[in-house]
């Protein structure tokens, strides 16, 4: 019993640390967002919703939010589409190479985003292989670059979240015994119905979680948007950064970041709620026990 209590104490401590590290700075932002901005980082002393009203009534900000959400969602989906088959392949790879591939994956997920983005901008630039190929097949009619647009930013986001997603989903697929696949196949399932009736339902919770993690990362992504978007792709984090650096307007920047956090939380809760109400999956089957 005493051990149990000590354990609870440790948990409470961890919770307290999280609150201090995460919630408190957010509260600071929240507070700041309700004051009027005077120049040079100074704030008025009247509480008001003025900053929120400014943002929410301005088509420019709305467009920025919509762009950020759509871009993040698409990039997360694309990343899932790439990560799941890769994770599946890795999880079923019965070879000593596997360990090295995992190490490679781990290492690559620690590579600085700046370095990754640099590599991508060389790959997508007008001198890179893709643009060269397109120039070649269009007989020089097309001679642009694939950089500096929403597509490039999306590719950057996908690239950044991919190693993490693969590792998450690798764990998910590993929990599905190979014998379930054998059973499905021997009982007559096609590859497609193996995927649809067995693999996807059994990985659904993991896929949703991984997708949300990627989405949340994308919503806050700054470096890819700046470097690959080349000033052409204004997302919420980019606009926040400009508000702070160019205009030294902390209250509006705070309001933007509060709205961004709110959007992320709402979208996560929505998806989780949808998942609860959804069809019975493995999770539900297990929970019933």
């Amino acid at each position: 019993m005493r051990i149990r209590r000590a354990y609870d104490g440790a948990l409470a401590l961890a919770l307290a640390v999280s609150v201090v590290l995460f919630i408190v700075p957010q509260l600071f932002f929240v507070r700041q967002s309700f004051f009027e901005s005077l120049a040079m980082g100074m704030m008025g002393d009247q509480l008001s919703f003025a900053n929120y009203a400014t943002i929410l009534s301005d088509g420019f900000y709305i467009a920025v939010f919509v762009r950020t959400i759509v871009l993040s969602a698409i990039a997360a989906l694309v990343a899932l589409f790439i990560a799941y088959p890769t994770a599946y392949w890795l999880a079923r790879l019965n070879s000593p190479v596997l360990r090295w591939l995992i190490i490679l994956l781990l290492v690559s997920s620690f590579v600085s985003i700046v370095v990754k983005v640099l590599g991508l901008s060389m790959l997508l630039g007008s001198q890179g292989p893709f643009a060269t190929f397109l120039r070649f097949v269009t007989l020089g009619w097309w001679s642009g670059s694939l950089l500096h647009n929403e597509l490039a930013v999306a590719i950057g986001l996908v690239q950044y979240s991919l190693p993490l997603l693969i590792m998450l989903l690798f764990g998910v697929v590993q929990t599905i015994p190979k014998s379930l696949e054998d059973a499905a196949l021997v009982h007559g399932a096609s590859d497609w119905s193996l995927l649809r009736r067995i693999l996807l339902p059994l990985s659904l919770n993991g896929i949703v979680t991984a997708g949300l993690i990627a989405f949340n990362m994308n919503m806050g992504a700054f470096t890819s948007a700046v470097l690959l978007g080349g000033g052409n792709v204004l997302t919420v984090p980019v606009v926040i950064q400009r508000k702070i650096v160019l205009e030294v307007d902390y209250p509006v920047a705070s309001a933007l970041s509060v709205l961004l956090t709110t959007a992320v939380i709402v979208i996560n809760l929505l998806l989780v709620a949808l998942r609860r109400g959804g069809p019975v999956g493995a999770g539900q089957g297990r929970q019933a026990a």
Partner: protein
């Protein structure tokens, strides 16, 4: 307060221990410990040259110089963020778009010209109450003359020339947080028949150019110019000189601003209010203004010194030939933006909303 004093104290200790370790470095100690400063400046080759020309002599004299690298706006944001606490750096390079902001808010202190003997060698306009103009970049259209020749294009004469169909996807434009932004949009405003008093007139022309992207860092555009990804961009002559050294075939052309031709973007230097080492800050600045240092730094980075004798010396450098406008007549005819006329908030809003992107 206590932060800075601790930092000074610690670097003093570090200096001591290093002095004890390295043979022959006792000389520095003998010349006295000047303490430490931090200088806020741009990064890349600019910082490297600055450190070599100004940082090095300060170190030799027994001081310590560190750098905080960012755009002037970025550094100003750091200053604002540190309001009420000790300043994050002691001196700072900036541009015209920031002086009013900073002076009004008293982030910078008045200069003590007694401690800046080299400033006496400068023309009057270079000495202001709270800044001294150290150098200036010569802004114009930097372009890859080989690519232009291959495409059968003439050298661009105006900023609007960048809208040529053959340049689609090959032109980059300095973003609003980049130093070279202002002369470029001012130039376009003049080409649209307006002036810096109404920069929004430049917007349709920028949309017509439809730049491939908007650069925020010179390192970035330098890479893309070198690779041939980008053929032309409003930028400054310094990079023509620097990139020619690695055989990138770049030239610069200077469009008209009404009757003026070519544009200067002055580099300003401030001493930050609340510095704990005012003496070393001034000493750094004064070293910066030494004619020989001016010349070497200007040569290395391809900018214009403010010291006239340095300018004359620079004219003898073959690297500047045909790149910088150095005759007295040309210098007198350079456009310098009058920032008091610029409506900054209006322009930033227009830039975010009215530029066609993607």
């Amino acid at each position: 307060m206590s932060n800075t004093s601790r930092r000074t104290f610690l670097s003093g200790v570090a200096g001591l221990s290093i002095a004890g370790l390295l043979p022959g470095s006792t000389g520095a100690w003998a010349q006295g410990n000047l303490g430490a400063i931090k200088v806020a400046t741009w990064g890349g080759s600019w910082r490297d040259s600055l450190d070599k020309q100004v940082g090095e002599p300060i170190r030799k004299a027994g001081g310590t110089v560190e750098y905080v690298v960012d755009t002037p706006q970025g550094n100003l944001a750091k200053l604002v963020a540190a309001r009420g606490r000790s300043a994050p750096f002691d001196t700072m390079e900036s541009g015209l778009e920031l002086v009013q902001l900073m002076a009004a808010d008293r982030f910078i202190q008045d200069l003590d010209y007694e401690k800046l003997p080299n400033a006496k060698l400068l023309p009057d306009f270079a000495r202001a109450k709270n800044y001294v103009m150290t150098l200036g970049s010569m802004d114009g259209i930097v372009y890859n003359h080989e690519k232009f020749k291959e495409a059968g294009l003439d050298a661009p004469k105006t900023y609007s020339d960048l809208a040529h169909p053959k340049l689609q996807g090959k032109v980059a434009f300095p973003d609003v947080n980049h130093t070279q932004h202002w002369n470029a949009v001012a130039g376009l405003a003049y080409e649209a028949g307006a002036s810096e008093a109404d920069l929004t007139k430049a917007i349709p022309l920028i949309n017509k150019i439809k730049p491939a992207y908007f650069f925020s860092s010179s390192t970035d555009i330098a890479t893309k110019m070198s690779s041939g990804e980008i053929w032309a961009a409003p930028w400054h002559a310094g990079f023509v000189i620097r990139l020619r050294r690695s055989n990138v075939p770049l030239s610069i052309s200077y469009p008209q601003f009404g009757t003026k031709r070519g544009s200067l973007w002055p580099v300003l230097h401030h001493v930050v209010r609340g510095t704990e080492n005012e003496a070393l800050a001034h000493r750094f600045l004064d070293t910066y203004l030494e004619p020989q240092v001016q010349l070497s730094h200007a040569k290395a980075t391809g900018v214009l010194p403010v010291n006239r004798s340095a300018i004359q010396e620079l004219g003898k450098d073959p690297e500047t030939n045909g790149v910088l406008l150095l005759s007295d007549a040309e210098l007198d005819n350079l456009f310098v933006i009058d920032f008091s006329k610029v409506n900054l908030a209006q322009w930033r809003s227009a830039w975010d909303r009215d530029i066609v992107r993607g």
